[in-house]
């Protein structure tokens, strides 16, 4: 890394999956890079680096965001949840993860982090979404394997699970 880039780097304090973390972020370095390369949280995936595919989706202060294009200035003291952080305190899968497994809401799994986190946000805002609402909640996510049918089904299962067992 060249000297001038190092001088322009910024020290960020974040809370990632509940843990306080201090990271050095370089100019033009994405949050996705910081998560994957510096914190080695590789569950968040790169698909396009332009914010269109959603494989890099994380929750920032409870809202979904594309970590590949998130400006560093918006991240000060941010609370970030990645797919690794969805797992419950007892190590069990989050009900949304469990539903995606049980209802086969994935095939290769590469895009799944984005769909899981978008589902978490959707069901927090709207515990009983219609199929149309589910489809539109994924406006920012691409899946190339499933044709989306099984993902919509998994979200319905997740909604039922969360109603029985609110988080």
């Amino acid at each position: 890394m060249s000297q001038e880039l190092l001088e322009d780097s910024v020290l960020l304090q974040l809370r990632v999956n509940g843990q306080p973390r201090e990271v050095e972020i370089q100019p033009a370095q994405s949050l996705l890079d910081v998560l994957r390369e510096d914190l080695r949280l590789t569950g968040t995936h790169m698909g396009c680096m332009t914010g269109h595919c959603g494989a890099c989706t994380v929750l920032i202060n409870g809202r979904i965001a594309k970590s590949c294009i998130t400006p560093e200035v918006t991240l000060r003291r941010a609370e970030i949840t990645t797919v690794e952080g969805l797992v419950q305190g007892d190590g069990c899968l989050h009900p949304v993860q469990q539903a995606f497994w049980d209802a086969s809401g994935f095939q290769c799994g590469y895009c799944s982090p984005g769909f899981l986190l978008a589902t978490v946000e959707l069901l927090k805002d709207n515990p009983s979404p219609s199929d149309d609402e589910i489809r539109h909640a994924f406006a920012g996510n691409l899946c190339r394997c499933t044709g989306y049918q099984s993902i919509v089904r998994a979200v319905r299962v997740a909604a039922d699970k969360l109603k029985e067992n609110p988080q």
Partner: protein
């Protein structure tokens, strides 16, 4: 393959994916997730020209930047490497073959061709330094359109070739002239399929590790075919295969893109060897969009009787395969021709395929592998014929289908279709969609300015292919190992691109062996541990991976049963193994645990296990029948064992103000033979439908007249999102394949073309009231809008148009 099965009951059910827990926790490492100590990162310098002579490459601007470890140009790479062997060498089939290098040496043939590479300690430095490499080019005229490339005087894409063509091939048989002479009518279509591609969400990635101690190489790769890739690398890198290990364990979707021949594969390995350190390269989306597929222009004629019966088909088409490559993309054009005339019982067929080379970037395989193009072209042509003859689109198809009693059926091109009930499947799809209901709704809609369309289509997809003289093999191999604790390890030569095939294959093994699904661990994609195999392509994974695993499991079961018989003192024929429990019909009250029998096998080799050969392992291959590489009396071969097929129906609404198509409903009746895991199979079918929908409505790769690609991101390349894909009504209409294990047919590729054609036919059905029929794809809103404008449709709408409705 008649044999007695234990019938545990996993086959035919839908257990969830075996590794789903780890995948959904984000704990499954994909290739780009792997980092090694001392990791270096590569960035590739690519040609900005479609055709140019390279005058010089100056790497010094890059190498003087702090953090840069190494840089290389084509001349440097050529000192250490040989040309990349072709996945499908055209010369094997009598075509023209070009030399492919991992970095261009003295000229470039396409935009984006790798010219130099920079390696640094981090990827941002590598990218920055790559911008400092100075390449001096002398641009040459480029040719981007197939028809232009064939004109006399066109610039040659490959120096020394006399034509811009890999090969021109005729397909067909019968008496085509006679068919046309007897026709009441000839229906002509010009179907133009645009350039589009696969675009898995995981792009390609390679991480090569050179072990200086023993001069071995490990390549972690997004590779569908690890063993054949190892062979290619050994030749390109001039090292023996047994010094190379490929690891391709978890892949984030492949769809053909990750079949090999890409220059980066050998290049990244070479960089690891030259630096002695691990080198990683991750393709960015713009690079991924360079890889093309599918662009074909057809002129097809149907000779018709007035009752709709097709007497003969003539089709001439050009496939724009881009610049030559070592990837197997060009072969798709071959398969398009070979698959004609699809599901139709037409003996008089003359197809001429020309696989043209241009200065566009090369093709690679794309799900459907050219067979989807056959479906698109035939289904658009027959739709036009139906309209011209005034026959219902469902009826005209049913009048021409190969009847169900005709199987096995040899087609005009020499394929031998195994089984099917095409009319039954199409009628099932039509029923699922509510055909008559939508016809009524369509008529009513026109009065209020709502333009609904109903489209149907059929597709036959040859799958599980084997091409003689190539690494496209029809067989594959699996090993089943059972340890003293009774746990089962299944190693197979087929790979998992993310379809769930390990779960399906494990279901088969669990049933054959008599154990629980959870006791099985599946290992794939590692050339050091898995039996030699050909990986994933052509919808083969469950046919040959499952078939070979079943045979291996049967062998191991026989050993376990023999030991159990010894332990119980009963005849082996009385032994039953179900769900991890071993019992004998002779001793109904005694049950042994599978694990205890296995432990006895390993520890009592001289008494109860003396009758078997230890260990509890078996390796078997499965080679399906029906494939025939001995040319018949007309010189034709049948390279496929399996012909899955499906009927499709789509309902759309077209907004004539904007040209936007909204899909309202989709139905499919699918025949992929015996179904191992219905949920996984439906997932494959729905994924293929989304491919079909995206391909004809939005996805398009565009370049300018000079061959510079303009499509660079998902802003330009619009793949379907969840709201673009309607609910799919799925019906199974299975006819078991007589030549595969359990009657399996392929399920991975089928449906891309049939669903695409159903969508196009639905749109044209909606537009028919305006006299508009579009056979140039994609049907993006601007194109539909322009066609409606040209037809004067919007001025006349809606009352006049409604009055003129002429749908049968």
């Amino acid at each position: 393959m008649a044999h007695e099965r234990q019938g545990q009951g996993y086959v035919g059910t839908s257990p969830r994916q075996l590794n789903g827990d780890a995948v959904l926790r984000g704990k499954v490492p994909f290739t780009a997730d792997v980092l090694f100590p001392g990791q270096l990162h590569a960035h590739i310098v690519r040609s900005p020209h479609a055709s140019a002579r390279i005058l010089s490459v100056d790497l010094s601007g890059a190498t003087r930047i702090a953090g840069v470890v190494f840089a290389l140009d084509g001349m440097g790479a050529a000192q250490h490497t040989d040309p990349i062997p072709h996945y499908l060498d055209p010369s094997v089939f009598g075509g023209r073959s070009a030399e492919i290098r991992c970095l261009a040496i003295d000229h470039v043939r396409h935009f984006g061709q790798p010219v130099a590479v920079v390696v640094a300690g981090d990827k941002r430095t590598a990218r920055y330094a790559a911008s400092k490499v100075r390449v001096s080019y002398e641009p040459r005229p480029a040719v981007t359109e197939a028809a232009e490339a064939l004109k006399p005087g066109a610039p040659m894409v490959v120096a020394g070739w006399d034509q811009n063509s890999i090969m021109e091939v005729p397909f067909g048989g019968g008496d085509v002239a006679q068919g046309f002479a007897e026709a009441d009518r000839v229906s002509r279509s010009r179907v133009r399929i645009h350039r589009y591609s696969t675009q898995p969400i995981e792009t390609r990635a390679y991480n090569a590790v050179w072990n200086t101690g023993d001069d071995t190489l490990t390549l972690h790769a997004t590779a569908q075919n690890p063993h054949p890739l190892r062979n290619v690398l050994s030749r390109a890198l001039r090292m023996p295969e047994n010094h190379i290990r490929i690891v391709a364990t978890n892949i984030g979707g492949a769809f053909g893109l990750k079949m090999h021949g890409h220059p980066e594969e050998a290049l990244i390995c070479l960089l690891a060897r030259l630096t002695g350190r691990p080198v990683r390269w991750v393709e960015d989306r713009e690079e991924c969009l360079l890889v093309g597929g599918r662009e074909q222009h057809h002129e097809i004629e149907l000779a018709l009787r007035k009752d709709g019966r097709i007497l003969a088909i003539r089709d001439r088409f050009l496939a724009n395969t881009g610049a030559p490559s070592a990837c197997p993309g060009w072969g798709m054009a071959f398969l398009t021709g070979l698959t004609m005339p699809g599901p139709y019982d037409v003996g008089n067929v003359a197809v001429t395929m020309n696989a043209v080379v241009t200065n566009k970037p090369p093709w690679n395989a794309s799900r459907g592998y050219g067979k989807e193009a056959t479906a698109i072209v035939l289904e658009l042509a027959i739709e036009r014929a139906a309209r011209e003859l005034g026959i219902d689109p469902v009826e005209i198809r049913c009048r021409n289908f190969i009847p169900r009693e005709a199987f096995p059926k040899k087609t005009a091109t020499g394929l031998i279709f195994d089984s099917g009930d095409y009319e039954g499947a199409l009628r099932k799809a039509v029923k699922l969609i509510g055909y008559d209901h939508w016809r009524a709704k369509q008529r009513a809609g026109r009065a209020t300015g709502k333009y609904y369309g109903i489209g149907v289509a059929y597709e036959v997809t040859p799958e599980g292919g084997a091409l003689p003289g190539t690494m496209v093999a029809g067989f594959d191999t699996s090993t089943v190992k059972v340890g003293p604790d009774g746990s089962v390890t299944l190693l197979t030569g087929v790979t998992n691109p993310g379809t769930g095939n390990p779960t399906g294959i494990a279901q088969i093994v669990a049933d054959e062996l008599g154990v629980t699904l959870e006791s099985i661990r599946v290992l794939q994609g590692d050339t050091d541990t898995c039996p030699y195999g050909f990986g994933n392509y052509s919808g083969r994974s469950t046919i040959v991976g499952g078939g070979s695993a079943a045979l291996a499991a049967q062998d191991v079961r026989a050993k376990v049963a023999a030991v159990a018989a010894g332990l119980l003192g009963v005849g082996v024929e009385t032994i039953r193994i179900v769900g991890g429990n071993v019992s004998s019909s002779a001793l109904p009250d005694q049950i042994l645990r599978f694990a205890d029998v296995c432990y006895a096998a390993y520890t009592r080799a001289y008494d109860v296990a003396a009758v078997i050969e230890l260990p509890l392992e078996a390796t078997r291959s499965f080679k399906p029948g029906l494939i025939s590489h001995q040319p018949d009396e007309n010189g034709k071969i049948n390279p496929y064992p399996s012909y899955s097929n499906a009927g499709y129906a789509a309902i759309c609404e077209v907004d004539i103000e904007t040209g936007k198509v909204t899909l309202l409903k989709f139905a499919v009746a699918h025949d992929c033979g015996r179904v191992i895991n219905p949920v996984l199979v439906e997932g494959q079918a729905c994924g293929a439908i989304a491919f079909g929908i995206g391909g004809v409505l939005g996805e398009e790769i565009v370049c300018d007249a000079k061959g510079q690609q303009l499509t660079t991101s998902f802003v330009d390349y619009t793949m379907p999102r969840a709201a673009d894909v309607p609910a799919v009504a799925m019906g199974h209409h299975d006819s078991p394949n007589p030549v595969t294990y359990l009657g399996l047919k392929g399920a991975g590729e089928a449906g891309v073309g049939g669903s695409a054609a159903a969508v196009v036919n639905a749109v044209n059905d909606a537009l028919s009231v305006f006299g508009v029929e579009m056979q140039e794809l994609p049907l993006s809103p601007p194109r539909i809008w322009a066609a409606l404008q040209a037809a004067g449709a919007v001025r006349e709408r809606p009352a006049a148009a409604a009055a003129g409705g002429s749908v049968p």
